[in-house]
Symmetry: C2
Subunit: 409 residues, 2 copies
Amino acid sequence: MKLFRKLISLEEALKIALAYAKRTEIEEIAFDDALNRVLAEGVYSRIDSPSFDRAAMDGYAIRGEDSFGASPANPVILRKRNRQGEKENETVVELREGEYLPIQTGMPIPAGSNAVVMLEYTKEKGAELVIFKPVTPGKNVSFKGEDVKKDEEVLKEGKTLRAHDLGMLASLFKRTVKVYKSAKFGIISTGDELSDPKESIEGEKKIADVNSYVLTALTGKIATPYRIGIVRDDYEKIKHAISVSLESDCNVLLLSGGSSVGKKDFLADAVEDLGELMFHGVAIRPGEPTGFGIVNNKPVFVLPGYPVATIAAFELLVRPFLYATHGVKEKRSKIFAIASKKVPSAVGRTDFVRVKLLCIENEYYTEPIGVSGSGILSSMTKSDGFVVVEENKEGVEEGEKVGVNVWDW
Amino acid sequence: MKLFRKLISLEEALKIALAYAKRTEIEEIAFDDALNRVLAEGVYSRIDSPSFDRAAMDGYAIRGEDSFGASPANPVILRKRNRQGEKENETVVELREGEYLPIQTGMPIPAGSNAVVMLEYTKEKGAELVIFKPVTPGKNVSFKGEDVKKDEEVLKEGKTLRAHDLGMLASLFKRTVKVYKSAKFGIISTGDELSDPKESIEGEKKIADVNSYVLTALTGKIATPYRIGIVRDDYEKIKHAISVSLESDCNVLLLSGGSSVGKKDFLADAVEDLGELMFHGVAIRPGEPTGFGIVNNKPVFVLPGYPVATIAAFELLVRPFLYATHGVKEKRSKIFAIASKKVPSAVGRTDFVRVKLLCIENEYYTEPIGVSGSGILSSMTKSDGFVVVEENKEGVEEGEKVGVNVWDW
C-alpha cells in the first residue's frame, strides 16, 4: 500500500485543472431554446426600444404645458382634435396648442404631444377634456430608445440567460443567439462492490453505484452527461474503458471510486499509464483522494468513491472547471449566515461543511448537520447547502459570518 | 373607458387563486428522471445504510481495545489472522484478541473487530502489525444503519429533488419514485400591435410578443408550457381561443395583454363571459391590471400586456399558484441585503422592485435600478433579483434590511 505522496492545495489544483479547461465551440440557436445557456457573444440592439414614443398609460395625449396650473378648483379645459379630413393613422396627426386625443397604453403618441394625462385626473364631456391636475411634459410616455438604445450592448458575453433575458431578445427581434456548446462529460463509476440500482434490488452486502447518478445530475444543468456506468476493479478493464470513452466524442471524463491509496486503486495509475497524471491528492475534506490528468489531450478527473467526497470534489473542483469550459462568468450568489456553532478545521486544508439554514428575523444562522463523514449521504439530503472553510482558516468561530452555497442551484 | 372597480390586495388575490390550485395527479417515474421534480410520497428506507459494518478508511481491522497504550516508543504488536482452512469470504472470519486483518475502504469489517487503524500509524512486517497510536473502538468504521436506518423517512413529500437526493434514492435501491405530474399551462398573448419575433424582423412601429416567451421560460422549470401564440384584439377570436385551449388538455391558462382598462381590453370580459371572473385589479405595482377567473372549471390568469408587469404578476401570484399545483413545499431562499437607497411605496400596495446586488465584505447591499416603469425590460436584465415591498409598508428606508429573491431560480 502506498500513501499519497503529497497533497496539493485546492488553489494549486484549481490552477492546474483550469489551465486545461478548453472553452467549448460556439453554436447559434433559436433565442427561445437558450434558457440557462451561456451567451458567447455580446448582444447589441439593432433598434431603439421602444422604436417610437408611446403612451405608458391609458388616458389622453396632450402637450404637458397646456395642463400647467390645473387644479380641481381651477381646471384646464382642452378641446378634442378634430380629425375630419385626416387619415385614420394617428401618426399623421400633429396636436396643436390646447388640443387632446384619447390614447391607449402602447400606442404611438401624436406628434406635438409630449405627455399622457391619466383618466383619473380628467373628465371628458363631448369634445372637451376637463383636467384637474397638471402633468409635466414627458409624463406617462415611453420615449423612443428609453428601454434600449440602438447599438447598445444589452446582454454581455458570458451571461447565463434567464427568462427575462429571453424576453429582451424577443423584444429586439433577435431570433438567434450565439451560445457555448454543451460539452459531453463521460461518467464512469468503478468498484467490484458496486451494483447499479437501476438493475438490481437491495440486498446483503450490496453497495449501490451512487456517484454516476449524482454526477449525471450535477453536470446535466450545463453540460451533456454521458453515463457510461460501472467498471470492475480490473486494471486492464479500467484502462480500456478510459481509452474507449476518450476516443469517442466525450470532451471530459469523470471517473470515481478507487481513487484512494488502497490496493485496488487503479484509477490514478491508469491515468498515469495512458497519459499524464497532473495531481493526485488535494488538501480538501472530504475529497482528499481527488486526482486530475490528461489522456488523449482530454481532461480526466479521478474522484473519490464515497458519494459525499465526490460531491465535495465536484463542487470545489469540477464545477469551476465546468463553468470555465462553458464560459460562465457569473458567480453563484451565496447566502451569508451566522455560524451557530464552532466548526473546527485544520490550517492547510479546505473543508466542505454541510449546513442547515435557519432564518430568524431577516438573519440566517447555520446549524451544522450532526453526523458527518463522507459515508453519510444523509448529511447532504438534510442540508440546505455548504460552507467552504478556506485553507488559511483555522475553522469557523461561533458567531462568525459565513457564505453558504445553497442547493437551489 | 372604465376604471378598475376596486383593487384587491395581493393577499386576497392569492387566497382566491390558491383555492383553485388543484394539485396535479401522481406519477411514478425512474429515480434518475426525477431531478427537480417534487416528491409525492415520503420515501422510507427499506434497508439499513450501510447495510453492514464497513471500513471507512484503508488500513487494518483490529479490536480497538488491543491498541490501547500504543505509542511510538511503546508500540503494540498484533499478529495477522491466519486464514488457512477458512473460506475466502471475509465475513466468516471472527477476529480474536491480538489479531488483525488488512482492510480497504468500503469492505465489511470482520466479526470481532470494531475499529480500523490507519496505515499512517502502523508498520506491517511479515505477519506482524506494529501500531504506534491507539484507536478507540468504533474508529474509522461506518456502522450498519449509521447513514440511514431501516424504515426511516429519508425524503419528505413535497421536497424538490436535487442531485444528492437522487444519490440517496440510488443508495437505497429505490428504483422508482412518486412525483407530482407536470401540469400543462397554455400561454396566449393578445394584441393587434404584436408581432412574433420568431416569424418577423424588427421594423417601424413594431412591438414584439415578449410575454409568451417569458411565460414559457418561467413556467417550464416545473410545469409543461404550451405556447399557443398571439391572438388579435378581436372579442370573438379571444373567446374562441380561450375555449379551444381549455377544451384541450391545458390545466391552466395564462393570458396576457389587454388586461388594462382601455377600449380593447377584452380579456377580463371574455373570461367573465365564458365563466366567472374572480377578481380583476390587484394592488401590486407593476401588475395592477391582473385578473383571475374560472372557465370550464379551469383557472385562467389575465396578465398585463407589459412584460415587466407580467413578470411581476407571475412572481407574486402565478408562481405561488404553480407551486401549490405541483406540491412544492420548499421556500425560495432569499438573500438579505441592506438597502443603499430609500425605496418609496404607498401603503396598501405591494411593490415589486428590481435591484442589483453589491457584495462588500460578506454583506450584500441593494442598488436600485435607475430606470423603472413596466415598459423598461432592461430593468429586469440589469437586475440580480427583486424585493417585495409588502402592502402594509411605507417603502423601504435607506439602511433597512430587505429580502432579495435572486434570479438563480
